[in-house]
Symmetry: D2
Subunit: 475 residues, 4 copies
């Protein structure tokens, strides 16, 4: 799947550290955010706490662009820090919406990083504004900060405030809250988005959206948070509060397995890489074909292609090369250009595909333009047949939990049948992963997953106004 | 192979277009250089000719950084253009050494782009300075410009000047020369570096270091230039001058197949991807092992790993994930950091390797630090055995033809035997590609290759002063 | 007075336009802010309203740095806009504190620009936080936005909300509020800071801190707002609300006449340039001296020097040249430098001062370092006598109304007598403007002025905590 | 005179230091170039010599933009350095033409900075190219480097090479040459451009285009170089070579006194400020008028206005305020703008001019647009009469010696008589400085000046091709 063209985006990654001793904790967050960069490329930020004094830097851009050595050093030493990477809609408000959101209040400073999407954001905002609250941003994170602060005024402990706030917040939220003397990790009651924690050999606790970020900073994964769980990191160590656990249907996003998370991450102990191999295997069983070679669309179709090859016995090979230098500042070819965009990003390995019947594996089809061009490139390079296999079912529904799927009128699967799509993209055959296989992808048992974008089966009530406004309310 | 740590660098990529009609030819060069970015990331530049009036922009940085939409548009329309990407040593002189080198002279303007390294640079420079020439840069390209200009004063045609200049220039040079009314592509008599040309459906001729750059701009490859060949592109079409062909032993760099070129490129019609598969297969035959899984170091070891898997029957899988966001501005962890660098760039897929006997394929070992850390990461992730297979022989000698191999005191193979290296890097077994297989990698017959870095068999005389000064004279 | 060394800073300039028809109103604000750049060089911003949709750009830097042609154009067309230039303390929070402060609320969007300083900021903030408000910035402007929004929830009209808010806000505030359908200009009840409005030939209304900004956009000054006045610009034209006028002692800042405002501005119809000429004349009368030449410290002492010359009959000449290229990015000479800073910024015209008895006029002395070096430069250039005349009385007290005067321990006049200072700065004689002349400077009658920084006579009650915290609460 | 509109530009400033001991000599050059910034704002550069190893940084932009603290520090320690500020024509070649021009050669490295313009540049270039020389830039400085290098091959000493080169170079050139072990200052035989040297209390020698740059780094002026003089600074101290003195008519540019040089500079011991006062006085004598006030166009008309006031007895006052923040990045109002440009740059002080008969002094009229708008602003501000006095004669001829005067078709004085111009600019009366006063401006005797731009009296032969090509050959 080509992130520039398909309009499906994970919307955030969060990272936090509670250190045993003061040091340049911002450096650790920097490397952690680096490992989470695939979860958001628009903006990023880090807040470091030095004895309750917060220093923040955040801006539009990649982690390596926003944080120069000087900027990173200027965050100083501290014992706690939180960081965030964000994908978001473009526009003037971009910089304002960068996280962490830091607010000051006499109950103490609060820095919040958030991955997810509230389904009752409009409702909460209207209620807060009615009490005189003013908003600087359009992000859910500011709403969360308000609710937490208001609850803080009513309670003895920050932990109680968090538990009460969770009863007001609906939808998806994986949060790390930095207070003056503790970090609090929070996962919503349905557990839509991943959030895990671990520890390094220095005794520092690390919290992150994905376990690959723990590995990148040499920390060992302890475990994934449970839905509704609150984990507190402070002078007394780590302790879990499960008062809000088991209060709502479990609903981890299945698309984390299919596309968002890095292959080297684990969610609830399940390997993302293995989930993708399994998806490829299911496709091989359900849509067998007499072919010479299996190739993947790099990078996201590679795992599925290997799985397809393993199951089918058809050899895996590299049939497409991706230009790894195409970044944010790349100038895409215009309409009048002599070059078509897809050749620049992807090129066929002629020797691999020439005269061959090719199975092409990708992870999803959104608008179909990219996959159609990819099929065409393979044919120009001499492929005699191209059989497309997709490691996800067709997208048919919007996501209200933090994924920016394209609008329904752009989703090809909302407008055409599978045979029609096959024809439109110029493939010989086309097979999507069957919905029945989704629960089997992670390889565990007992967990349930949110598959609403494929099935329409939402685990929470979605207010009508959220359905209308969803394009505006995303974090 | 990790380019940051191993100190082996290709030193340039060249690209040119001779268009049938004027248009924004700079755009085509932009996309072509993009496809060649792997050949040089330090600086880049484009010169466009509009009826003999040259407009140049060049600077330090990646193609996408140096050329903003405004900068690219400011090159204007034209019928010819040349471009260059360059790897080079750091320092103040960097920007000055960026190419194209454009000189003005009453015989006409000349823009030169060059890939390679002259072995008699010091000699030529001394001779030129003795006649009053002054140099602004330390690059061979300025020497070439001088020699060409001097010969131009002595001859009737530019073509004759080029042929005469070739008799004075020794070593490796693949050149594109842009004169006011023609483009001239030149390959040195030994043919050390690749250079090919093709044509698009508009009738524009494209010249490039690698055929993948032709593909990226939707041009069809016509053919690779022969050693010593001069190809002229002008109003009368394209014509080849072979007066200097067959005058020296043929010596295409074998390391272009092993590492430098992109897998989707062809050299003399031979697939780079297939050459690497073959290397993996030779390793499987020569160094068989009882293992559970074959993995490659991304991205350069992937092709070899697939070849090893195909030959050995041991399943191929993805065992290491590379962070694709690590770029020029990334802050590498310092000595005092809690994180080790390699984890940030590479992470193991624990589920793939845990409890497994792993064959790890990479393309070369220079200092051994990176491969040692990679082996360690795999062991930490639970691999029970790690068998390292390298798709090249050990590096033992310097290259005088345009490749920046590390100094001999840093080359691990100059100091230790293979069993010692195996021990140093913590592998269970270690196998390097046998020298005898090098000629077989490309898969053709009749061509001979330069393998001097592995064998010490140089195809040209190397002046003593070049041996001493090589670190300074590289382009 | 040298702004880099003397630590007296005006803290803001505001500008607004209510246009008869939509056009690129941001352009007009750009030129207006340019004219007000002397009032703040740290950050600036513009918000344009297009039918109630607000577009904002603000950042650290000068107007010409923050607004590139692309940025300015991206603000789009509109019928209203407000802008701000700001001086502020350095630090991470700088960018967040840039104005306009834009808040969204169901009662309508609100963009606020503010010049001044609240004396009850801490009190208000504590009260607001107690009701659950959270703050993103440390600026008074966010407090003002909250108070306005809360009052808006309690009243039928925005105008009533403003009048009620004014009863809660204490201290100095000249505001322009942009609502979705109107602009409202507000001056605090004491009228500490200037704020005037006018109209151009297109019928657009312009509001600005100083009349020079009206001239710069070819608008005619209509008049200065009265203390406590609220002026509303909307579809029905302009109307004034004077309910809050006459409720507090009038107290326009006298230092606006002496230093802050541009010489071509008028306040209450009084020429700033003439006020400074008058100051020079008073000095000539009160501190006559037998001298050959009168010179001013450029640029701020020039007017006073001409006044001194006019009254005394001693010829005016140019004796010091200021380097006009010294800007924000200039690297000041360090301690170990061979050069002293003041020579780089100022140089004597030797031919003017050599062998002469010189009267040197400047507008203030803060720490005395700069004036001491200036005297030394004149002596090195051959001046036989240097008689320093200052067009203000000695600074003895802090300002709580929006001027950042240095701390008392740095104010030379708090530590030494006038003869001692004369000795310290190496002058032959030293004369400060007498306090009794302050009311006469503007040249009007009936108005009263705030002279607290010289006299300690504050026109409002200053809470104890404000006295302690003033360094933190400045806008 | 407003540099943006009048198209008269000095083209360079040079600065050099020969230090007694190694230190960060680049810092001294930085401050020196700062003081010379008025001589060129397009590009700048510094080369530092550390025992003959040269480190250069140069780029487009102001001194404070090009040299960040990091960049300046990276030049390192040394005992010699040269620097340059340059005005030049815009275009792609800008950066290449930035100076110092550094060339490497076996006779030794050479860094050259140059102020002036060769009249035989085309001739020399053709001759050099005929011998095989190639040019990277279009600047005279590269020609000078070639000629020097060629002569160096023919002579025993660098000094002899310089003397011989001077016989080949025609026109204006004030040079500082940095060799590996000495600095050589050179002034052309006519002495068109200023060049002086001095010494600081550490014993470092300083060479600069203007004495104000010596003052800025606390060095004492020793003296101006004589026409044709060569001054060598090396281990043995300083020694002068006058072999080429007295070989051509002396011809210091009179416009250095009128406009280019800073008022605090001296040329041949003559004060620039005094020359301008004298110009004002001559105007008062030759064009007396019954008026109330004399004002100058800031900043360049100020000195002349004071002179006019002194002679006429009409009071001097400040009638126009210039916005000092208008810099390189300022967005000038377009045609469709509601604002006219001149108001933004200049504003009238209404209280000064209202109801007054005003004498307005400026230093030159090129196209007349700016002065016409300035007159209009004064009338709008209530001036009853405006009498324009210009401290230079009308421009009628091109300059071949390094000044970029507008083309003849744009020079208003080439197309209209003085009464016609008076009418065009809306003045009541108009008086230009009489040509007969030019020799009297500097206040010395015995020196002769180049006044060719006013009189057409060129002191050297101008080749026909130079007359044609002058727009291309400027430094």
């Amino acid at each position: 799947m080509d992130s520039c063209e398909t309009h499906i985006h994970e919307e955030c990654g969060v990272f936090g550290i509670y250190a045993a001793n003061p040091f340049h904790v911002g450096d650790t967050v920097y490397y952690g955010l680096y490992a989470l960069q695939h979860r958001g490329q628009e903006s990023c930020g880090i807040t470091v706490s030095n004895n309750g004094r917060f220093t923040t830097h955040k801006d539009l851009g990649l982690v390596s662009e926003v944080f120069t050595p000087e900027r990173l050093a200027s965050l100083g030493e501290g014992t706690m820090a939180v960081g965030h990477v964000r994908y978001g809609t473009t526009g003037n408000s971009g910089r304002e919406n960068a996280q962490p959101i830091v607010v000051s209040h006499f109950t103490g400073n609060l820095a919040t990083v958030h991955n997810g999407n509230l389904t009752n954001a409009a409702e909460l905002r209207r209620e807060l504004e009615g009490r005189g609250s003013i908003f600087h941003t359009t992000s859910d994170t500011e709403i969360i900060s308000y609710v937490l602060t208001q609850e803080r005024l009513e309670t003895y402990t920050a932990e109680d405030a968090v538990l009460r706030a969770m009863n007001r917040l609906r939808g998806a939220y994986s949060l790390i809250l930095m207070l003056e003397d503790k970090l609090i990790a929070v996962k919503d009651k349905n557990g839509f988005r991943p959030l895990c924690y671990g520890r390094n050999r220095h005794g520092d606790y690390i919290i992150a959206s994905e376990s690959c970020a723990l590995s990148s900073v040499s920390a060992e994964l302890i475990r994934e948070l449970e839905p509704g769980e609150v984990v507190v990191f402070d002078r007394d160590g780590v302790h879990s509060i499960k008062d809000n656990c088991g209060k709502a249907p479990e609903a981890m996003c299945i698309f984390e397995y299919i596309y968002f998370s890095r292959p080297d991450s684990l969610i609830y102990g399940n390997s993302i890489h293995h989930a993708r191999l399994r998806a490829g295997r299911f496709l091989a069983k359900d849509y067998p074909v007499d072919a010479d070679i299996v190739i993947g669309v790099p990078d996201s179709g590679t795992d599925g292609a290997i799985g397809y090859s393993q199951e089918s016995g058809i050899p895996y090979d590299i049939g497409l090369i991706k230009n790894k230098y195409i970044g944010r500042t790349f100038i895409s070819p215009g309409q009048k250009s002599r070059e078509t965009g897809v050749r620049i990003k992807l090129n066929a390995v002629r020797e691999t595909v020439e005269g061959k019947r090719v199975v092409l594996v990708d992870d999803s089809i959104v608008r179909s333009t990219t996959i159609a061009r990819t099929v065409a490139i393979l044919r120009e390079a001499g492929a005699t047949q191209v059989h497309v296999r997709i490691t996800a079912p067709p997208f048919l529904n919007p996501c209200y939990y933090g994924v920016d799927i394209d609008s329904r009128e752009n989703l090809i699967a909302c407008k055409y049948s599978v045979p029609e799509i096959c024809n439109l993209i110029g493939a010989d055959t086309l097979g999507y992963l069957g919905i029945e296989h989704l629960p089997e992808l992670p390889g565990d048992s007992g967990r349930t997953y949110c598959t609403a974008c494929f099935t329409g089966d939402y685990k929470t009530r979605i207010p009508e106004e959220t359905k209308r406004d969803m394009f505006e309310e995303s974090v």
